[in-house]
């Protein structure tokens, strides 16, 4: 059980590390207000249709520049990702150093809660609306 927790934490930490490197790369290559058009999204590269989370990099970059309205325009999910990037790595490191399981327990509780139909279906509908909006905007 403990080794599973450590494996899970290191996986998440490397994912957040990749996220931060991606952000730094984008900040580096950003000229003025223009965002780079390079995308790694598999769906967008193959079908030219944006996926539900396309535009979230631009959204997070806009939040960093305190441009909250265009962040909302690019992708509202950017706020969620920004919050996750801020809170979760600190939480995981806190857990690792103090040898606690608070994040591990939280994750499993959230998984059970999110599987309930009255939570899952509204979230799915919201996501679909966001996706349709994304395609409409042509992000």
């Amino acid at each position: 059980m403990i080794s599973g927790r450590i494996k899970f934490y290191s996986l998440l930490l490397s994912a957040f590390g990749a996220g931060y490197s991606w952000l730094i790369y984008n900040l580096w290559y950003q000229t003025g207000n223009e965002h780079s058009s390079f995308t790694v999204c598999f769906i967008k590269n193959t079908t030219n249709i944006p996926c539900p989370s396309c535009g979230s990099t631009r959204s997070v970059l806009s939040i960093l520049q305190r441009d909250f309205i265009s962040a909302l325009y690019f992708n509202p999910l950017g706020y969620l990702i920004f919050a996750a990037l801020l809170i979760f790595p600190v939480w995981i490191l806190f857990d690792l150093f103090l040898e606690k399981n608070t994040f591990w327990d939280f994750y499993h509780k959230m998984e059970i809660r999110l599987k309930k139909p009255y939570v899952a279906i509204p979230l799915l509908v919201l996501l679909l609306i966001n996706w349709i909006w994304n395609i409409y905007k042509g992000i």
Partner: protein, 113 residues
């Protein structure tokens, strides 16, 4: 439990588990009481092949992870365009093993009561 019943279970459900887990499952079932046969027989497992197909088609949206019950990782994949496309490709190879792991967990949970 009767050896023939155990063999029947292994024959019908063998593909849902890792091959190295099959001897353990067999041992476990042989120790069980016959009254548990109904509980064991009605267990529904996720098919690794199905999750592979879903992973190939909808892996970038995390649908494969949602289907096997890994909601948290599914959300992670969904929010990052399939982990920048890399995780989606890794999961083409990992998802069958992950499905089998979920199946053995389900099997153990069902027998725990």
């Amino acid at each position: 439990m009767d050896a023939s019943k155990v063999d029947l279970f292994i024959m019908t459900n063998g593909k849902f588990f890792e091959s190295h887990q099959l001897p353990i499952i067999r041992e476990r079932l042989l120790e069980l009481d016959d009254s548990k046969w109904n509980t064991v027989q009605i267990l529904q497992f996720k098919d690794p092949t199905t999750s592979l197909i879903v992973s190939l088609l909808g892996g970038s949206l995390g649908i494969d992870r949602f289907i096997i019950g890994d909601t948290g990782k599914g959300i992670g994949k969904l929010l990052t365009c399939g982990g920048f496309g890399i995780w989606a490709i890794i999961d083409w190879f990992m998802i069958q093993g992950a499905t089998r792991e979920k199946n053995i967990l389900k099997f153990q949970e069902a027998l725990a009561y």
